[in-house]
Symmetry: C2
Subunit: 116 residues, 2 copies
DNA sequence: TCAATATATGAATACTTGTTCATATATTAC
DNA sequence: GTAATATATGAACAAGTATTCATATATTGA
């Protein structure tokens, strides 16, 4: 590979870009968040939880799929800090972790001009 | 699988959630956007482009990796509508598609309490 | 036209990840 | 304690995806 030096000003921009890159750990964390909401099955769960707290079987009812699959997805969302869970008797109630989640979803919707 | 009817109110919420789910096509589109920014290599490219328009080799310089790998990633970002490209002589200059991209990144950063 | 530079791409491989199936854990009611 | 309900999880398989290598295309200048 060669170096590209077609415009000195652009080389400066590249240098600045390199210096201002977030730390690897932060990049990984960000990637993790986006990865966790980049699966249709998981996105459906998030949209379902916008209506409020739901137990696992109700989530299954709302989004479809098997109980096992949904449970695995919930684990991923929880590990990523996107949803939180609390036990109430036999049930475990899931809900969205914080308002950022919905905000990110809505921004992305705006980007795509969808109506949510 | 059985039905869960521990609280009638929650069943109503589940029904509402099911009805208010975005259409499959919209879910897929959203998932596509998030998937395209869920890879560390691609996130780095986006952060680099925050500094301004850059040609491919300068992006390579900024984020590391091979020219081929970066080019493949750019293709994915472009297909997802995250970045745009224009030719200028021998170079192809890439830039962020619109302000939503940066806004989503910054929101996610807030969520993680990073400093970007 | 030829050489050099910049970018893109197809095929192959390796890696990651989602789903399924079977089973385990936990809570409640009897 | 036993049965029933709700949820979680490990292993295996299938599907998707990132990277590499080699090569192709496109632009510029001689």
């Amino acid at each position: 590979m060669q170096t590209c030096d077609h415009v000195r000003e652009h080389t400066a921009t590249a240098d600045r870009a390199k210096k201002n890159l977030p730390a690897p750990a932060e990049i990984e964390a960000l990637a993790g968040v986006f990865k966790s909401i980049s699966e249709p099955a998981r996105l459906k769960i998030l949209f379902a939880l916008r209506q409020g707290e739901l137990c696992v079987l109700h989530i299954v009812e709302a989004v479809g799929g098997t109980q096992s699959a949904v449970s695995h997805q919930l684990r991923i969302l929880k590990a990523a800090g996107i949803v939180k869970a609390r036990r109430e008797g036999q049930n475990i109630l899931y809900s969205l972790s914080d308002a950022h989640v919905v905000a990110v979803l809505e921004l992305a919707c705006t980007h795509l001009s969808c109506k949510f």
